[in-house]
Amino acid sequence: MAVLTEEQSLLRDMARSWAQEQSPVKAFRQLRDKGAEGWDPERWQSIAEMGWTGIVIPEEHGGADFGFLGLGLVLEETARTLTASPLAASALAASSALVLGGSAEQQARWLPGIAGGDVIATLAVDDGPRHCPEDIHCVARQVDGGWLLNGEKAFVAEGGSAELLVIAARCESGPALFLVEADNPGLTRSPRRMADARNYAALALENLKVPDAALLGKAGDPELLDAVLDRARIGAAAEMLGLATQAFETTLEYLKTRVQFDTILARFQALQHRMAKQFTEIELLRSCVESALLAIDNNDPELPLLASLAKATACDTLHLVSREMVQLHGGIGMTDEHDAGFYIKRARSLENAWGNASFHRDRYASLSGY
């Protein structure tokens, strides 16, 4: 754990006790069983009331301007119990796009609603099932008084519920981000039902018309897209740290109670060493995630490197821990009534989110110049 300010500690403790008490895994199970939206309106309400939806939004727009480390702590704690909410999509990813690239008008129009939790926003970058921001096929063509967007977006988190979509498209000079309202007639949204039972959508953009005022920042500016993506990546890594931590603790608890061959499993040295290995990986991951969050708050020029480090490490670590969770629980971990399946399913979705380990290793090496 990084050394936190008093306010940060308080926030973390509050998030932890809220998640454990008000939003336990059981809540996610009920949601999943209902086959509902993929997020939980009641808990979203609480989240908004606690102000977590506005943590990185400036005070003038109704936020707390509290920094990404704070939001990361909340994402970590709520992810531990699989809290199904649009927090990462709306309060982190889409908010970052508006905060970094939005004009005063755009910010004033949207940020208060997002900060208050009334507006759910999301970020849609990839056209296909794998993250590939340098190869966006969705095109934006400048027309009289605005832009015409054509193409597809795949697996947009909270894409079915968002009122505001921040959509990446390719214009002549490079990538650009556009604010698109869900009721735009050029937009068709189709739900995708995923293993993790969360809310994803495929978007079809057919001659989707937006005014000039819908463009975020400069058209063709890859830096804005990168900066927004890095924040989204670090947010996903923070969630994954929470998932890994909880999966590990759940497994550890099980090993300490499950008796086989007349002894608790925790006494078997081979299992001890595997748990030591996982503990090691999680501690390394924690350092990466916290450093990356701090790098946002400190405008650290190494942010891209640290974002890729955090996301790649999160992918590898959670992959390991989620597999070990199932394996070490034995048969019970294979059953739907146990939570292990939820963790491994959610893990794979987040591994894909904003670039998997392979993507980020390649990026890290390229950024390092080899």
Binding site: G128, P129, R130, H131, A154, F155, S190, P191, R192, R193, M194, A195, D196, A197, Y200, A202, R258, V259, Q260, F261, D262, T263, F268, Q269, A270, L271, H319, R323, V326, Q327, G330, G331, G333, M334, T335, D336, E337, A340, G341, I344, K345, R348, S349, E351, N352, N356, A357, S358, F359, R361, D362
Partner: protein
């Protein structure tokens, strides 16, 4: 065989190959080529299509679904060379074996070794014809990997046992006709108080509750036994000596071509999936080199695994014990799981569909198979138990329990 006989034998094999080819041409419906799929054979009781039903009947009557089993019990009565010829000819046209399940993989070989003549004549022919579906009554809640800790009681009531207790992880229990089970006939000894019995699942007092798995499917059950009467003629081998038989059956489970041991073979070669889903560079290589390396590692290891399985077969044929057989269960399980994980990675979010629009049936099946496949390193002796066995039995590193 000596050198003089070899040419004659060669001639006979050529004739047999011709016979097989003709029989397959006459009996295998070509629309079924390569239509086998792992999950359906492991899970569920999906009704067969009419051509598949016809194919199954033909193979069952011919005995070629169990090619090496004695013809007198309904098997094919083929020798190893003939079996190989049969497999080659089937592979050449995409034909697959419609006779499978636990009866073939595990129980049949065990009965051939331990059962009485009457039991063999009663139970083996229906297995060869694929008529009877068997399930395994081994695991109990709380026993897990420590199988011998089982508690299900079978009381001697003269002409029958009265069985009470609970089994779990009964594969296909909800669809099974019969169950082979380990029961406790003596509470004073752990291993020496266990007997191996055959139970008709229609016997009153048996209740089956499917267990929902993380794959969303239910291929296993909890099975409750309440005052179930099992006739004494259904005891295999001697009373209280069932542990030995039960372990032997597990060896068949471990070395046979069941779940884990398919070694990630089902579904075609992994790099073909990659070529379908991923971008290529100008030299025709996958652009994602990191993933390409891991796909290559997998495919090389899979090849090594298959070569090892072949080597074990050869050794067994030569009558030599093959230490390498002990590694097949774990490596096979690893291959199955690694293949699924890599497929997922190749497909990205497209590989995580659960149901509904936007996914092909193969993609949705892939998600379920990935999750279901996590079981192959748990059931039939977990990876940890297998490693204990290798260390202690093969390497002679004694000491730890298990």
């Amino acid at each position: 065989m000596n050198d003089l006989a070899a040419p004659l034998q060669e001639e006979a094999n050529t004739a047999f190959r011709q016979e097989v080819r003709e029989w397959l041409a006459a009996n295998f419906p070509s629309e079924l080529a390569n239509q086998d799929n792992t999950l359906a054979t492991i899970e569920g009781n999906a009704a067969l299509s009419p051509p598949a039903e016809k194919w199954k009947t033909a193979m069952g009557e011919k005995g070629w679904g169990t090619p090496t089993w004695p013809a007198e019990y309904g098997g094919g009565g083929l020798n190893r060379k003939q079996t190989k010829i049969l497999q080659e000819e089937m592979a050449a046209i995409g034909a697959w074996n419609p006779i499978g399940g636990m009866g073939v993989m595990m129980l049949g070989p065990t009965l051939l070794e331990f059962a009485s003549e009457e039991q063999k004549h009663q139970h083996i022919p229906p297995i060869c014809r694929g008529e009877i579906r068997w399930c395994q009554g081994y695991s109990e809640p709380g026993a897990g990997s420590d199988l011998a800790a089982l508690q299900m009681r079978a009381e001697d009531k003269g002409d029958h046992y009265l069985v009470n207790g609970q089994k779990t992880w009964t594969s296909g229990g909800q669809w099974a006709d019969w169950c082979f089970a380990l029961v406790r006939t003596d509470t004073r000894h752990k291993h020496e108080g266990i007997s191996f019995v055959l139970v008709d699942m229609k016997t009153p007092g048996i209740e089956v509750r499917p267990i929902q798995l993380i794959s969303g499917t239910s291929s296993f059950c909890e099975t409750f036994f309440t005052d179930v009467k099992v006739p004494k003629e259904n005891l295999v081998g001697e009373e209280n000596r069932g542990w030995h038989i039960g372990k032997r059956l597990l060896q068949h489970e471990r070395t046979n071509l069941s779940g884990g041991n398919r070694g990630g073979r089902s579904g075609g070669s992994l790099h073909k999936i990659a070529l379908k889903y991923l971008d290529l560079d100008s030299a025709g290589r996958l652009v994602d080199k990191d993933l390409r390396t891991r796909i290559t590692r997998f495919e090389m290891r899979q090849r090594a695994f298959r070569l090892t399985a072949g080597r074990v077969m050869e050794a067994v044929k030569g009558g030599a014990p093959a230490a390498a057989s002990s590694i097949l269960k774990n490596v096979g399980a690893e291959m199955t799981q690694e293949r699924a994980e890599l497929s997922l990675e190749i497909m990205g979010m497209q590989g995580l569909g659960w149901e509904g629009e936007g996914f092909t049936p193969q993609e949705l099946m892939g998600t379920r198979s990935w999750l279901w496949g996590k079981a192959v390193s748990i059931y039939g002796g977990s990876a940890e138990i297998q490693n204990n066995v290798i260390a202690k039995r093969i390497l002679g590193m004694e000491g730890e329990p298990g």
